[in-house]
Subunit: 415 residues, 2 copies
């Protein structure tokens, strides 16, 4: 546990979440406290900001504004989707990173993101090791998709899940005000893993949720879907269906692509104007049942609705950032901070460390045993897993009836 | 102010809001307190429930659940869109209403809704007068659209406005995380009046809102829109546009209908799969600018997101319901309860009464002088008008991290 003195740099990467800035607050506030960390830099747009020497001196920020990061959605420093080439194929970026690290005496690198970002983090870590430049590298997990391998869950998921469950409950009420039939189709994010769509099952658990839930983990059968929807429609007059944007048929074709096929047969369906998956399914169901059908996309709101974030998630996101700094200062490197659920009936979230090379690019899906045998819902095991993650109400300070988000000065670091 | 003894019946009508149940709570709780009101009935699905003798005895409900109505979105008793014929054309419904009123000795009729519902309320009132059946009739306003004539604003609007402004601020942050260009188009409800879309200007007022806002009050010029969007895109790389679903061109054609025209020219636009207005405009702008464009519909969420309701709105909705009962008991009839803004710098909302025949079917639009001369935003006068309406945070009790909505027993009234 040798003492390592030098600057640290922190970057945000990949799609934003409601709480990615809470992790930023954790990293920055902890790093500012540490004696051995001589400067705290925040990279503009992740790795790109480092390559372009475009980063901010975080010590210039007001502490009140840094605190507000805990309740400010999206990536305050700017994010990026930039895939580093393998160093043995093209060393250009790595040489440049090393040059920048040396110039600013950067000895701590914290990177906050999902699968791809952990790949970046891993590559930087391995390169610095290879060239013998001492730099402690720590990944901080983040993704509403909850698909990072090895961690019980990911910061960002709890808040997205809380938004989805809450909004689904509200839509449930809205969708049954009239005594006429109505089918509502909710389209939820998640291209490969169904965690977000599964969160709608929390609303069903409260008695105000979807009748049918379809995840990408199970091949989607259009005929079965129509059959199920029609049956419930005939029984109850109301049906709520939650579908993951990533559902595919048994041949691996995205159902959202059915839209273009349908557009070609518009005479039969009467609607050439198809939109995304929700509209596609809505049009199909409308044709089959004659019911009033409405498609709703939660769209970006599910990843930025900080106004209904989970306090548990905010606190854990902060903890993940803070822990990354503490562990790095203690001498740890080449890890991603991860969560482990404590034993016992009370929910407890412990920190553990995972090798970056293990997490990079590995995906975690919803366990098939948590999906009901007929593929249209989630079991109590999923509810037990997800419920603790959405507890507690995080609230921004309110000004004029609206959230007061952090306003960073973003003072560029001296070159 | 003669004392009138008898039962009261209350109905919810038209599209639901986040706070229509707060008005229900106001009516029901006040009516239960009044000695002269011998029974309190809640009609299932508004006027239809009365015609079908399908209504509930509200005295059977737990007072805790009635309290929860204040924070439960949508219409707990069920709503309806049912237009009564004119009595001189077809008296059938009216005769049936009279029969039911007599059978249950209903002497108070409270009806909660928007323009069409006030028409129903007015017709019932006039018929009862005509046939000499003593019944005090009071309308309680409700509409997220805020388009009821004669009242400063409508219960339901403040909460929808708060949702729209808050979500727009969050999307604003989300839409600028990458350093690549991005145009975001938000589609907001409001077929004829632009009040809801105007609420996005509250986000702009906080520095986190749309660059361009288009209301149905001003004819929409597609070329000008493309020009404005392109100019801002070239300047800033990011553009946020808020459009009302009801925008029309100078010939009165809905812009949302342009979608089907575009679908016919799909080769040029490359996308046959158009959705609603947001997608239509997104596709047009994408074609013209080459930018990444995203269309977002707030959809039903803007009228049911009780989790971010305005406390001012909740309290005023309750007050409107409560006042209707108090005034009726005092002897008033044939009125709609309305709001009047008190003089002075502090916001104050006073109750006044409007003749039902004046409000029925009359529409109030956003004053043209509150719209910027170029038609792409709102003036400070609008901000001053709207800001007081979104103040205060209404929160449901939370169970398991999710809102606990009212659960009514709905015990049918004894026939």
């Amino acid at each position: 546990m040798s003492r390592l003195e030098g600057a640290c740099i922190f970057g945000q990467s990949g799609g934003p979440t409601s709480v990615i800035n809470a992790s930023a607050a954790g990293v920055i506030q902890e790093a500012l406290k540490q004696d051995c960390i001589t400067a705290v830099y925040g990279a503009a747009h992740g790795i790109k900001g480092i390559l372009e020497e475009n980063f901010f001196d975080m010590s210039k920020e007001d502490s009140y504004e840094l605190d507000l990061l805990k309740t400010t959605p999206s990536s305050a420093l700017g994010s990026v989707r930039y895939k580093l080439k393998n160093a043995d194929e093209d060393e250009t970026d790595y040489k440049r990173l090393l040059e920048v690290f040396k110039k600013y005496n950067i000895r701590y690198f914290f990177y906050n993101g999902g699968n791809d970002s952990m790949d970046t983090c891993n590559k930087v870590s391995k390169y610095m090791q290879k060239v013998g430049y001492e730099c402690r590298v720590m990944g901080v997990p983040k993704t509403i998709d909850n698909d990072l391998w090895g961690t019980d869950h990911c910061p960002g998921y709890g808040s997205a899940a809380k938004y989805i469950a809450t909004s689904t409950m509200e839509v449930y009420h809205d969708a049954r005000v009239y005594d006429t039939g109505m089918i509502t189709i909710l389209e939820i994010m998640g291209r490969n893993a169904g965690w977000l769509t599964a969160a709608s099952a929390l609303a069903s658990y409260k008695g105000n949720g979807p009748d049918l839930i379809y995840l990408p983990e199970v091949p989607f059968d259009l005929d079965k879907f129509i059959e199920d929807t029609t049956r419930i429609y005939k029984q109850n007059g109301k049906v709520i269906v939650a579908v993951s944007e990533g559902i595919k048929d048994k041949d691996g074709k995205y159902i959202s692509e059915y839209g273009s096929d349908l557009a070609k047969t518009k005479d039969s369906f009467g609607h050439a104007q198809l939109g995304g998956l929700a509209s596609t399914l809505a049009n199909i169901v409308k044709e089959k049942t004659g019911a009033k059908v409405r498609g709703i996309e939660f769209s970006l709101l599910q990843r930025c609705a900080a106004h209904v974030a989970s306090l548990t998630d905010v606190n854990e996101a902060y903890l993940a950032g803070q822990s990354a700094v503490k562990y790095a200062v203690e001498g740890k490197t080449d890890y991603m901070v991860a969560f482990e659920r404590g034993e016992g009936p009370e929910y407890k979230c412990n920190i553990k460390l995972l090798n970056l090379s293990e997490v990079a690019n590995t995906e975690k899906k919803v366990p098939l045993e948590w999906i009901k045998p007929d593929g249209t819902g989630l079991t109590q095991d999923f509810i037990n897993y997800a419920l603790p993650l959405i507890q507690g109400e995080s609230k921004s300070p309110i000004e004029d009836g609206l959230p007061r988000f952090a306003k960073l000065k973003k003072v560029l670091a001296k070159k």
